[in-house]
Symmetry: C2
Subunit: 388 residues, 2 copies
């Protein structure tokens, strides 16, 4: 069990205060650095994003915008309307532009869908990303489906279908891979669910971490967007922040039936994008960028899987199986997640996330992100030092 020195306890208490003030989202590394300037922070293992993809984007950004005069166009002028950007995205993902809604980050689309389409009853699996229940309107009943700890918080398809049929919701939410555990539902299992839940009005599938998952040796990309073509009650929500490492640009889109897109646009979304978001989506559909992106996506997946393997060999912690770019770790030796996070941050400069705010987790849990290989090394060394 980890013990904190008296000095560490004082800092830990400050970290806990910041965490509480931040609610369901961990305080950013900038807030931590500002409030605790004496810390020597080396790795932000709270931040779920492919850093190699950020490198790649910045390369393109500098070459295409800074070294030319094009930067001005994207800063000075209004971005295009939904229709134009939807057309650009549509050519990347092979979906009609009238089925695509762009958002200032996926979060704007989560809000829109939760406010307008979920109806009177929605089933949300827990533990999960809190906005899916926090954004529900007062007149929407949120029914939690508790994922089974004994099954590593992974979805048991038959049991889930039975639960949904019993509760007859208007909508269900499936985050795949799920956050905070990284549990992954294979494509054919998802199809099976869709096939059995045709009577549910909206099947909301959040694929924000999908680019980190794989089902074959080629690490091919998979997406429920294909299933949308068969099952029109599907709404796919996709953040570009994680896989492309560009959370600051706020890029996201949703794929849904076209009458839903029309309804959203009619209710008032104009310029629900930005110049840089439009630049990203234009880049995203070019062959050059996509080829380069595939390289960094696969490299990152491979390093992440090695990182998980090393973590799984450490005593006194349990690593949950993850197909995302983060790992859920359960502390088995009586250490609290707050003690763990504080020790890691104060002694090793590694900022990780407690999961005390996550409903549906039973035990002491922390979540660590996979970062660049040398940062992952520091994370492993720190945990090994604590538990070694």
């Amino acid at each position: 069990m980890i013990e904190l020195t008296r000095e560490e306890l004082l800092i830990a208490s400050k970290i806990n205060q910041l965490k509480e003030a931040a609610g369901s989202h961990s305080p950013s590394i900038f807030t931590i650095a500002e409030q605790l300037p004496d810390l020597n922070i080396k790795v932000d293992a709270c931040f779920l994003s492919n850093p190699y993809a950020t490198d790649l984007f910045i390369d393109y950004f500098k070459r295409e915008l800074i070294d030319t005069s094009r930067l001005r166009d994207f800063l000075e002028y209004y971005p295009s309307q939904n229709e134009v950007i939807a057309d650009i995205i549509g050519s990347s993902i092979q979906v009609g532009n009238d089925n695509i809604m762009v958002g200032n980050g996926a979060i704007e689309l989560i809000q829109a869908v939760m406010h307008r389409f979920v109806g009177e009853k929605v089933i949300v699996n827990i533990p999960t990303f809190s906005s899916y229940y926090e954004f529900a309107r007062n007149n929407t009943q949120v029914v939690f489906y508790q994922l089974d700890k004994n099954n590593n918080y992974e979805l048991v398809v038959d049991h889930y279908i039975e639960f949904v049929k019993l509760h007859k919701p208007d909508s269900v939410v499936i985050i795949n891979p799920n956050n905070p555990n990284g549990g992954y539902l294979q494509y054919e299992k998802l199809r099976f669910i869709l096939n059995n839940l045709k009577e549910v009005k909206n099947i909301i599938i959040d694929e924000s971490f999908m680019h980190f998952a794989y089902e074959d040796d080629e690490l091919s990309l998979i997406s429920a967007t294909e299933l949308f073509k068969e099952y029109r009650n599907v709404i796919v929500i996709k953040s570009m922040s994680k896989d492309f490492g560009i959370a600051g640009i706020r890029c996201g889109y949703a794929v849904m039936d076209k009458f839903k897109v029309t309804e959203l646009l009619k209710s008032g979304y104009l310029w629900n994008s930005s110049g840089l978001s439009e630049y990203f989506f234009r880049l995203y559909r070019t062959n050059d960028f996509y080829r380069d992106y595939e390289v960094v996506r696969k490299k990152y997946i491979q390093e992440t899987q090695l990182f998980f393997e090393e973590l799984s060999n450490i005593q006194n912690i349990k690593l949950y199986p993850s197909m995302a770019n983060f790992a859920l770790i359960e502390l088995l030796d009586g250490t609290t997640s707050s003690q763990f996070v504080s020790k890691m941050l104060i002694k090793f400069g590694v900022y990780s996330r407690t999961c005390t705010d996550k409903i549906g987790l039973n035990g002491e849990f922390v979540r660590v992100a996979s970062r660049k290989i040398e940062e992952n090394r520091l994370i492993i060394d720190a945990i090994r030092d604590i538990y070694g």
Copy 2:
């Protein structure tokens, strides 16, 4: 009266089609250039934005972000939450951070206010910016207050107050200076209105063009934000796109009673900003930037007023008094606005805006933006050539 050649008529018809497809917002210059590649477009006089401020922002952007390693922080990481950015804005405009809501452009806040706060009845003055009536929910009654053409579409305070008292709305909208005519309501007149309409729940004041208005020889900045401190039913909506020339970044904020901010945040706004928007707001509060901005703001106002003076001397058109960065021009010789806009674009490369979609205008109107001095020269020369 302007006459179009046969060739020009064909292009004009294409322009009209694009205009119709764009609804209440004119097609962007990029769309026009893409669809009509043979045109030699020299000036975008549809675009309402201070180009000198864009120059200034890009200078800072390059110096502070590109020439250092800071760019990555703003692209890779999530922007701060509302509270942090509100605090930064608050220190610029001397308002408490709990009274400020940030938006991905003012348009997101117009949507939020129209959906959540306006209530059952709202009075909107016409002609005006269409989103204020287009975004109203089905269960909100929009009552139009027709601005009097004989008074240059400027607000007559006593008549307006009487109208509002008669209709007893939950909310009223005042855009100051108004779009599309640039009509300006002086600070003391606005105070008089507020003082007489205390029973109206929300007085929405959109100040997106306010930095171009002035009441003294110093061209001092004025804002209804001061009046919010006295009248808590005021909601100030502020776009930064026009005065700072950064429409692509999507920066806006609203000032309102803190219970309204709390209600919005509770309903689900997370990262309702972006990395570059946060960068802008951080820059906005620095003394250096602000001092430089004041120079380009005043230079632009002075050039704009000279531009208006020259326009006012042209025969067969009527220039409406404007305190914004655009002028509403009425065509008095029987020329239609579509003929005018087409001729200007095809023969002179000047893209201006018909106002056929604006309800509440009676006659043939076009709107031209003030741009850089050399562009304004081209606009004047083109109109003089047509009417000279």
